[in-house]
C-alpha cells in the first residue's frame, strides 16, 4: 500500500501519512485540520469540497491523495494574502452571496479557477460553469453577481 508523506498545500509542505488511495478531502480535513473544504456528497456532485490542483478546480472528495502528491494544492485557507482577501472572497462578501455559507468555500474555489481561465463570461456562461456546485439555500443569483464583480475587480487591478 503506497503511502503519501508530503503534500504541497497553500505554498507550504505538510507532512502526513496517508494511504495513496485516500480521498484528498478527508486527508485535508481529518489529518491536516484544513476544514475549510467541506463534505457534501462524496461523489463529486455538489462542489462543496472544491480545491485547486495546480490552479484548476477539482473535487477533493473524489480525488485520490496519491494523484496529487507532487502537485500544488490550494484550499480556501490559502486564498487570502495575509489580511488581504482574494477578489473573489471580497466579492462574495460585498454581494452578500451566502446564507448558511457551507457551499461558499467550494463556490469561491470554483469561481477562482473559472476566472483564471476567463474573465469576460456572461451571467449565463457563469451559471453554466457553476452548474456542478449546489447551494441549497438558493443564493445562486448573488453568486453569479459576485463572480461578475470579482471579474471586474480583477480586470481593473490586472491581477
Amino acid at each position: 500500500m503506497a503511502t503519501v508523506r508530503q503534500l504541497n498545500i497553500n505554498g507550504r509542505v505538510y507532512t502526513t501519512e496517508a494511504d495513496a488511495e485516500s480521498s484528498l478531502l478527508f486527508v485535508l480535513r481529518d489529518h491536516l485540520d484544513l476544514t475549510g473544504s467541506k463534505y457534501g456528497c462524496g461523489e463529486g456532485q455538489c462542489g462543496a469540497c472544491t480545491v485547486l490542483i495546480d490552479g484548476k478546480s477539482r473535487r477533493s472528495c473524489i480525488t485520490r491523495v496519491g494523484d496529487v502528491a507532487q502537485r500544488q494544492i490550494t484550499t480556501i485557507e490559502g486564498l487570502a494574502q495575509g489580511d488581504r482577501l482574494h477578489p473573489v472572497q471580497q466579492a462574495f462578501l460585498d454581494e452578500g452571496a451566502m446564507q448558511c455559507a457551507y457551499c461558499t468555500s467550494g463556490m469561491i474555489m470554483t469561481a477562482v479557477s473559472l476566472l483564471k481561465a476567463k474573465r469576460d463570461s456572461s451571467a449565463a456562461e457563469i451559471a453554466r460553469s457553476m452548474e456542478g456546485n449546489i447551494c441549497r439555500c438558493g443564493t445562486q443569483p448573488r453568486i453569479v453577481l459576485a463572480i461578475q464583480r470579482a471579474a471586474k475587480a480583477m480586470n481593473e487591478s490586472k491581477q
Binding site: C41, E77, F92, A101, T104, N133, I134, C135, R136
Partner: protein, 722 residues
C-alpha cells in the same frame, strides 16, 4: 374551533414541533452569573407579560440573590464596554446572528462591532424551544430590543446618579452617555466598571418605533461573513478535540429491519478501532473517517426485513390510513362555518379536485454532525441542531442522566430548513465516546442524511367548492390528509366553509420542513382558485380580488402584478403566466411566474419569478431579499422535480446524483418587491415566502399548455401528456 377563526393568530399548529418540554425554570444565583460573565451590568428579560409582572411586583427583586424564573434572554455589558447577548436561538443561514445584532445595536446605541451574540449553548443561554416556525423575528428580536433598551435605561440611571443630574437631560449614543446641558460624556465601559448590577424587565419605555430606526431597518452584511469566505468558521462537522476519534454507525438494511446476526471480529482487528454493540446500536470509532468506514464495511450483519410499499402507492395509502388522536403528532384540525351542503345545492358551479404532494428531503448541504465528549459523568456535545435544548433532553433520556449534566452547543450550522430538530448524531457520538473514553465525532454521509433523517410530509388534499355564476365563491370544503394544518384556513371571503386536517399513518419518518404543510395547502388552494376562475372565464387576478377583502394580501397581489406586468400579451408560443399567494406565519406573499413550455420535448422552464412580500417592519432589507430569493429557489425544486422515491423500506434516490436539487441553470430571473410596513410588528420571512411559488408555476403551466397538473412535483420528467 371558534366560528370567527382568525387565521392571523391561529397560524401553524406545528404538530411536528410541539414535542418541546415546557419552559425551563432557572434557579441561578446572580453571583454565579457575574462569576462567568465578569463584573458589569446584566439585563435579564423575563418571558411573562411585562405589565403583569409590574402589578405583581415580581420585577422588584432585581438586587436580590436570585434571578427571575422563565428568562427569555439576557445581555451583559462588560467592564471593557463589550456587549454580550445570550439567546437560545441558533444560526443556520437565516442570518439572525446579524439581524438580532442589529436590533441590540439599535436600542443600546452601540456599534454593531461591539456586540457579540452567544447562541444555542444550553449552559450559557436561556432555554429556548427551538429555532423554527419563523418565531425569531417576532419574538426574540422583540425581546432583545426590550433587553437592550432596558440596558440603555440602566446606563442612563447610572450616569444620572454619578453626575447628580436629572436623567431626562441624558442621551445615550454611540456607546456613551452625554449630558445634553453640560455636554459631559461618559463611556458605557466606565459606567459599569466595578459594578455588579442586575436589572430585570419590564422596561418603562417602549422600544424605538420602526419608523425611527437607524441601525435596524438598514441592510447589514453577515456580521461574521469574513470567517465564511476564508474557511475559518468551524461548522459542527468541523469541530475537533485532541485525541478525537471518528465514528460510523451500522444502518439496517431497510426501515424497521432487525438484526438477526452480527459478526464484528474483522472490524475489531483493525488497529485503533473500537466496536460498540448495544441493543440495536452497532457503531465503530477509529482514528480517521477512512478507517472508520473500513471497519464498518468489515462488519458482517444480517437483517430481518418486512416487505413495505413503494411511493407509487403513497397517496392511496395516506387516504386509507387515518389516525386521529389528541397528541401533538396526530391532533386533527376542524373548522366549520355556515353550511357547505347548502352552498353546494344552490351553486351555479361546483368543482371537486384532488391535489397531492410527495415527500421531499431537506438536503441541508451540511449533513447531521456531532462531536461528543465525556468528562466523568458530564457530557458535552457540539452538534448542528435547531433545538439544542431538545437535543439535551434526548441525550439525558438516552443515557438516563439529569439534564444538568448535559451541555449542547450549536456552532453556526450548514442549514436546516426544519430538518435538524432531532439529535441522532449527538446520541450516536455520545454512545461511541462513552465506550471509547475519548471524544468521538460523527458526520453522516449524504446517503445517511437522505435515508435516516426525516422528510417533509406527503399530502393528499381534496377541495370541493361552490360558486355563483358571477364568480363569487359561496362554499369551500378542504381536506388535507397527512401533511398538516399549516396554512390550511382560506383567506378568501367565503360564507360557507368546512376545513379539516386528517392525520394519517405515515410511510416514511416525517417532520418539520420550511413552510411545512403551508406549501401543499397553498398549492391546492391557489390552483383551485385558478380552476374556478377558468370556469367563469375570469382573469385570475380579478377573480381573486373579487373574493378577497384582506388589504395586506391584496396589496402584495397588486404589487407583484404591477412588477410582473400582469395582463401583458404573450410574445411566443409556449409562454405562460400564473400566480399564487397567501398568508403564513405573519407574512403576506404573492408570486407571479412566467414559464416556457416546449410541447414537443416536454421541457418546462421557469423563466421568471416575481415575488411581492410584506411581513411588517423590515429589520434587514438585504437579509430579507436574500431570504426571498432563496425561498423562491428552494420552493422551485419542490414545485418542479423534487420527490423522494422509496420501495420496500429503502430510499431509491438518496444521493445528489439521483435526487434532483435546483442548480444554477434551473434558477430563473427572480425579482422581489418588499413592502415595508413600519406600522406593523416585524414577522419572520424564511417560510411564508415559499408558498406562492408552486401554484404560480402550476397555473402558468396551465396557461401555457392547457394542462392542469395537480401533483407536486409538477414535472419531474417534463410535461408528458397522453
Amino acid at each position: 374551533m371558534s366560528k370567527d377563526l382568525n387565521f392571523e393568530s391561529s397560524f401553524e399548529p406545528e404538530r411536528y414541533e410541539l414535542t418541546a418540554p415546557p419552559t425551563y425554570h432557572f434557579d441561578v444565583d446572580r453571583r454565579e452569573f457575574f462569576r462567568f460573565l465578569g463584573a458589569g451590568v446584566l439585563i435579564v428579560c423575563v418571558l411573562k407579560d411585562a405589565r403583569a409582572l409590574q402589578e405583581s411586583g415580581a420585577s422588584q427583586g432585581a438586587q436580590g440573590a436570585s434571578l427571575p424564573k422563565e428568562i427569555g434572554a439576557w445581555l451583559h455589558i462588560g467592564e471593557d464596554g463589550s456587549v454580550t447577548v445570550y439567546t437560545g436561538k441558533v444560526e443556520m443561514g437565516q442570518n439572525i446572528r446579524t439581524s438580532l445584532t442589529q436590533a441590540v445595536a439599535e436600542e443600546l446605541h452601540v456599534p454593531v462591532s461591539a456586540i457579540q451574540m452567544v447562541m444555542g449553548d444550553t449552559k450559557l443561554t436561556p432555554y429556548d424551544r427551538g429555532t423554527f416556525g419563523s418565531r425569531t423575528t417576532p419574538e426574540m428580536n422583540l425581546q432583545l430590543r426590550k433587553v437592550a433598551s432596558a440596558a440603555r435605561d440602566a446606563l442612563i440611571v447610572l450616569a444620572a446618579a454619578q453626575w447628580q443630574v436629572d436623567r431626562k437631560r441624558l442621551i445615550a449614543a454611540d456607546g456613551k452617555i452625554t449630558d445634553s446641558e453640560s455636554k459631559r460624556t461618559v463611556e458605557y465601559a466606565a459606567l459599569v466598571k466595578g459594578k455588579q448590577l442586575t436589572e430585570t424587565l419590564p422596561v418603562e419605555d417602549p422600544p424605538i418605533p420602526a419608523a425611527q430606526w437607524t441601525v435596524a431597518g438598514q441592510p447589514l452584511p453577515k456580521v461574521n461573513g469574513r470567517d465564511f469566505v476564508t474557511g475559518k468558521h468551524r461548522y459542527p462537522s468541523d469541530q475537533k478535540l485532541p485525541d478525537m476519534l471518528y465514528g460510523k454507525v451500522l444502518r439496517p438494511a431497510s426501515f424497521g429491519a432487525t438484526l438477526s446476526s452480527l459478526d464484528t471480529q474483522d472490524a475489531e482487528k483493525i488497529p485503533g478501532v473500537i466496536v460498540v454493540h448495544d441493543g440495536n446500536f452497532v457503531g465503530v470509532a477509529a482514528p480517521s473517517t477512512e478507517i472508520a468506514s473500513r471497519a464498518l464495511a468489515a462488519i458482517r450483519a444480517e437483517w430481518k426485513s418486512q416487505p413495505q410499499i413503494s411511493n407509487k402507492e403513497l397517496f392511496e395509502y395516506l387516504k386509507k390510513n387515518p389516525v386521529e388522536g389528541s397528541g401533538p403528532l396526530d391532533s386533527p384540525f376542524r373548522y366549520e362555518t355556515g353550511s357547505m351542503d347548502k352552498a353546494l345545492t344552490s351553486a351555479d358551479h361546483r368543482l371537486q379536485q384532488t391535489y397531492m404532494a410527495n415527500y421531499i428531503a431537506h438536503a441541508p448541504l451540511e449533513p447531521r454532525a456531532a462531536l461528543a465528549q465525556w468528562s466523568g459523568d458530564d457530557l458535552t456535545v457540539w452538534t448542528g441542531t435547531q433545538r439544542p435544548f431538545g437535543v439535551r433532553t434526548e441525550l439525558a433520556a438516552a443515557f438516563r442522566m439529569p439534564e444538568e449534566r448535559v451541555r449542547v452547543l450549536m456552532p453556526d450550522t450548514g442549514s436546516g430548513y426544519g430538518g435538524k430538530h432531532t439529535g441522532e448524531t449527538a446520541i450516536e457520538a455520545a454512545r461511541l465516546a462513552r465506550a471509547a473514553k475519548r471524544p468521538v465525532k460523527i458526520m453522516w454521509t449524504r446517503e445517511e442524511e437522505f435515508t435516516w433523517a426525516y422528510f417533509r410530509p406527503a399530502a393528499v388534499i381534496e377541495v370541493s367548492s361552490a360558486m355563483r355564476k358571477d364568480g363569487k365563491i359561496t362554499g369551500w370544503e378542504f381536506h388535507n390528509y397527512n401533511s398538516g394544518a399549516a396554512g390550511i384556513p382560506t383567506f378568501y371571503d367565503i360564507e360557507n366553509q368546512r376545513i379539516e386536517f386528517h392525520p394519517a399513518r405515515t410511510l416514511l419518518r416525517q417532520g418539520s420542513y420550511r413552510a411545512l404543510a403551508a406549501t401543499a395547502n397553498h398549492f391546492a388552494r391557489e390552483s383551485s382558485m385558478d380552476e374556478l376562475a377558468d370556469l367563469v372565464k375570469m382573469d385570475p387576478l380579478e377573480f381573486r380580488v373579487k373574493n378577497l377583502k384582506n388589504e395586506r394580501l391584496r396589496a402584495v397581489f397588486e404589487a407583484a402584478a404591477k412588477k410582473f406586468g400582469w395582463g401583458q400579451a404573450k410574445t411566443n408560443a409556449g409562454q405562460g403566466f400564473g400566480m399564487g399567494g397567501g398568508f403564513e406565519k405573519g407574512g403576506n406573499v404573492a408570486t407571479f411566474a412566467e414559464v416556457a413550455v416546449d410541447r414537443k420535448s416536454g421541457e418546462v422552464r421557469v423563466v421568471r419569478l416575481v415575488t411581492a412580500f410584506e411581513c411588517g417592519a423590515i429589520v434587514n432589507p438585504d437579509g430579507l431579499r436574500n431570504q426571498l430569493e432563496g425561498a423562491n429557489i428552494m420552493a422551485l425544486g419542490g414545485a418542479l422535480f423534487e420527490a423522494v422515491e422509496f420501495d420496500n423500506g429503502q430510499i431509491m434516490n438518496g444521493r445528489f446524483s439521483d435526487y434532483r436539487l435546483p442548480r444554477f441553470s434551473d434558477v430563473p430571473v427572480i425579482e422581489t418587491v418588499m413592502i415595508d410596513r413600519k406600522d406593523i410588528p416585524s414577522a419572520g420571512a424564511g417560510e411564508s415566502s415559499l408558498v406562492g411559488v408552486a401554484p404560480a408555476i402550476a397555473n402558468a403551466i396551465f396557461d401555457a399548455s392547457g394542462v392542469r397538473l395537480r401533483s407536486l412535483p409538477l414535472v419531474p420528467n417534463g410535461l408528458r401528456v397522453a
